[in-house]
Symmetry: D4
Subunit: 223 residues, 8 copies
């Protein structure tokens, strides 16, 4: 009954992906059975926790290459390697799940994503030490919860596109990630863009869209 | 007393800009006097309404190249032309102020921005007619208020990076732009990024960051 | 002790229904015992999960015709068949529970409801393929979470009344369904109406009210 | 430059309409000049206050048939008369602007809309006196601010489709209309649908979509 | 270590009460041990669920007279009987827990509280049938979730003080009770007052304060 | 066309009142003309500012007994004197408009209301000095903005019913009165009830309902 | 009628202050007349704009020492000088009004406050250049709007108490200051405290309370 | 992989601390193993519940000195004793977890913190009895949920810095602590500062920063 969007990668360059959290085990088993045939394209599964995975049919589990930290899984391998380097910068280990979701999505799309953690702005020297590494990337993903001050500081230090992925980590006014989201949108650094809370997948997809410019002409057109 | 960030363009590629809405006429006169000297760099003024402009000193007014639709002004000309083409797509004339702010910011940064308006999704055929033009752009800025459905539809039709600039146009639940903002963040199209409500300037800055990739190497590195 | 509204169907054409989620098993057993007599009218139970059902008395369970996907149950059969056709359109399987609640409520009221899923606007061609089928319906129910862009796109493509049933599916700003709700209310398509989040039952009841017009005079009265 | 949707009425039965509040006088003059030619279709202008009207070109003012209570105007007359009767019920004169916007929109679409005001539920007898009149309508529009209790009471008294148009009238928690909106969505009456706050236009459009069923077959199809 | 407010009843006429939900079993055991001596005053425990009760020491359980529907318990009996009659009106069985909390608190304070349920405004005739009974009360407590339309309807039908106790029952915009709270505060009926969501205890305390007027002089003082 | 509720005072003991803020001058002139005849009942006008008054017809102005501090006016005098005394306690002069609206409404209903201002809890000694006076009242209305701490302190000091009227005075989180409203609802003092923000009229109406108990029997009924 | 709190400074060390925004000119004239006698204590007036000042009696204007940037005024001079130095750090001139309110309040209390502006974190080098100066202060007040990232960066760089005064400057999600407030409360820097939005006065008062520790014993007590 | 900030205490006087709630057992075991060596500095663990602790490696559990009430743990002992005394005042036992987190954090930093509970403002005499004790402290931490009226009352009674730590205890509008937070920020007492909801740790850190002033010069500098 499912009408998956098999040619999405050709059409808009985006990966075929399945959001698992709102689906039942039976629905997921059915999707994997349908999409996991011999010569079909790679598919990415997101928000598939280890606990949810354990409730799937053993055949389904066998087919999926799962990563528990990011709650992602690959079906039918990954997409071919492509140009570009992305730095995924996170304030602390608390934001690791989202940072890893971004990294796994990039890897699925054939892109290298470097993880740089424990660089919160309350200790600026830690961030400064990693700056040369960050500046080598074509795109920077800033994963940050609480006050998301990391986003503004990073935006003021690099030329590259900076994509903020606010996280829901925290308590009180931080709980759920609205403060990190709004702080990222209100960033005093110019040209920072933002994705939904905890959306490491979306940040990686945005990076992939941007990396598409690497092969395009850089000549200045006549006005 | 002002310590402007004269070398921001060299440091992170972003334009020197002044947000005028929260400043008094006296503060703006002072800033223009200080920054408007003969050999200084171009400066962009945003959120400077025609009404606010009329309260500035005549010398200040003379120096500024003002556009009333976007409430922007240039001081000391604009930056040198650079590669890349941006499509600024807006559902209707109601969103024109934000769309023009993006276009004027791009022009200030030396980038060509094409305005494509009156393509709301409630009449899909109007959008489809303009698709070939939109697909030529390296980056797409989607300016949309109300339900911001335009963002998702565009994101599903093009390969390029799509930056959503939600607008505050509307009444009831649309008033102030929260619905357009949240709808853009929750977009079912993959890899769309978002800037603050009514932030045409920020969307253009993000596009400029992205266009920086045009001159970069597109070779696939060894893993 | 319960004073059920047995003649509601006669009075306003709406079904006798029981919302189960806030009730205890003992309260539900009592209601079924009271209403489940031989010659009483059909009753619809909503938000009765399989887990909740398993805690009811076996006699209660035996009497209820339960559907686990929609968490609905019928007592004393369903109402007589009546004219009209409703299309229930949903972006993906994640919204299936709400879509099925609408379908089951329609069936209870004697109305045929056709389910059309996996037609998200990020892949417009999937929706366009199903349009002829949707256009045959007297009423369209659009079940949509996240950005609810489906509502506006549908509203711009059909003449029929379109009732939006926003869903709580999603994370970050989508969580709980407020974004889908507000987006539906702010729809740029004209004449779309909206029901509460996850209220497939209410959308179906509204459709039934509307179908009541099928038998009414269509003569243009003298002004 | 404007690409108006001239054939919207043919395509989806909805009127060509222009939302004026976010537009400048110059933009409105241009739109009227473009659309107001001899043989073009009728156009409805909404949220055009008397004050805004006074700033338009005299030629523009001459062409528009304006109503100050509802802030609406007609250009090129109205659409042909069609079948159906709508009752517009409002708790008090405070909600009159929204109620009149609904009535004027209906009239523009060729439909008769009867205004029934001063029937707040804090004095039930006033509502009960008008019930026979309300029950004659094919569709009921309930215009209500503050607690919007009128919506639920009406929904429990009539068979017809009930469309709630919450209003922004009030102070404290009522200010802006969120309470009336949420109360309408949470209505304990079954099958009530809701439009955006102060959206009398949208409620009327929804009524027009519903009245489209009057001419359709009411035979019960074989299952 | 606890410093309970033993003479609160003398000082302001309010009962000594313990809110249990945020306390640990050990804390509750300690409080009961301290307050449960032979000649001490009656104490009311609120928000003590059956599950929480089962985790207390058996001696504690023995001393408490518990009611599972309202999650309340009495220690050392109840206060002496006093004048006055309160009607507790609730739309449905879903609001029973809050209604019973009000009734149990009244009983603890020596006041008779009559429970009148299943009188939702979507079926006005059910409420009208019970009006004579309600009008006999000195104070009316209206327990209502969802749209809380019951509050306004009641306020328009009786002379007595009406205290609204909004409940958190519902889903979508009703979830958590904010809609019922705001709707009660915005009531179109005059002179209705409101307590916190789910606060049956507070509504009963307010009624007790009001009943204190029964014994006071009703002579009209010289101005 | 207006259907005023002339017998409301007989039916539920509440005054005939007109909320002026959402009405046009023409609507108000019409209402006063209709209700201001020789032998009709007294009518209270609320939220009628001096500025609004100055736009009414001179005949209308002549008939209304206006008070600019509270923005209230009397038409056809006031209601007969009745028993009871109400203390209206306010933290500072900033809350005077709301406190006076309560006092004027009470006076209209024939009740004496004593104003006690400048007793904020940040200087407890000022409140303590006025306590004997406050304790003489049958009902206490606590008018408070900002943190509304006055409500809890008062509720812990008096036996009488305490009605909180939160005000919109303040800036930042206080602006609009939500903090004062929520703080009043969450009061740690038992049995405090609350009305809408800035609703001095509603607080007075609630007091009038309560004062109705003064003449009622205080015998303890047989259970 | 006013009961001012003349001895507040003795009692809790806080200045006698009058919040002017919600008061009428007549009320302010009365307060100044009452408090402005020969030998009375200094009084601080806050939120008194130049426009409001111009509407006061000329005698009132003559007595007040007004500052238009901060909208503050002194009556009867200022308090005696006292120990301690406060650094008031602000990201830009847009936050100057709040920063100056803090400085003027400190000056009124006899404390030196140094203003350090244009040190936004998007250009970290500007902040670093001023660090030695900031580190000399006993207390730091961080005035910041938008994302308030300055608060976290400062909190990670200094030992002194850091008081965040979020400002309402900005648009979209920044408008009104909620984002700056929440970001400050969620700061990843330890031990930062926060005052209400735009509350430069309160931040200064908090600093004065803290400076009271300067004269207190610093011996480590026996445990 | 972790880059802990070992010299934070030297740099800004703040303790090395680990927020445990968002971390997995494996992550916590790794952190303790890395930081728990023989001669390393003391580390504070916050939001480590007894249940979470029980899932850690036994070696980890052995090394941590855990307190279940506050969910805190010490690794490598505590910091040296230092001057100053802090009063931690809480309205009731419901706020004990937060109050204890503050006390444990202070103890970790070498500071004495006295706990003063059960002093809610609804019974002012209980607070007044403890005032002499509270006034001896250099800093006061006010831990308060619900309406947080305690914060304003305390702020009006003491000279010392008052830090409000709002708590999430409560139901309805109190749930989650927003009301207590906003009420604290809007406090009518001057110079009160606020930390995030439930942030006893942050309140203690702020107190430690303030106590740093005890050793500093109190001479009045030349202006």
């Amino acid at each position: 009954m499912h009408v998956h969007d098999h040619n999405r990668f050709d059409r808009i360059g985006m990966p075929e992906a399945v959001l698992c959290s709102p689906k039942t085990p039976a629905q997921l088993d059915e999707i994997v059975a349908e999409l996991g045939g011999g010569d079909t394209a790679p598919v990415l599964f997101t928000r598939l926790t280890a606990e949810q995975l354990s409730k799937l049919a053993s055949e389904t589990q066998r087919r999926l290459e799962h990563d528990p930290v990011s709650s992602t899984a690959y079906l039918n391998g990954v997409l071919p390697r492509r140009a570009g380097r992305v730095a995924i910068v996170a304030a602390g280990t608390s934001d690791l799940a989202v940072a890893r979701e971004a990294q796994r999505t990039l890897h699925f799309c054939g892109v290298t994503g470097d993880l740089i953690v424990d660089v919160g702005v309350a200790g600026l020297w830690r961030l400064e030490r990693r700056l040369p590494e960050i500046r080598k990337a074509n795109v920077v993903i800033a994963v940050a919860g609480m006050d998301a001050a990391l986003v503004s500081v990073l935006g003021g230090l690099v030329h590259a596109p900076v994509i903020a992925a606010p996280t829901s980590v925290g308590y009180g006014v931080s709980e759920g990630g609205r403060t990190a989201l709004h702080s990222s949108l209100a960033s005093c650094a110019q040209g920072v863009t933002v994705v939904n809370i905890d959306n490491g997948f979306g940040a990686a997809c945005a990076a992939v869209r941007i990396l598409g410019l690497l092969g395009q002409s850089s000549e200045v057109a006549a006005r």
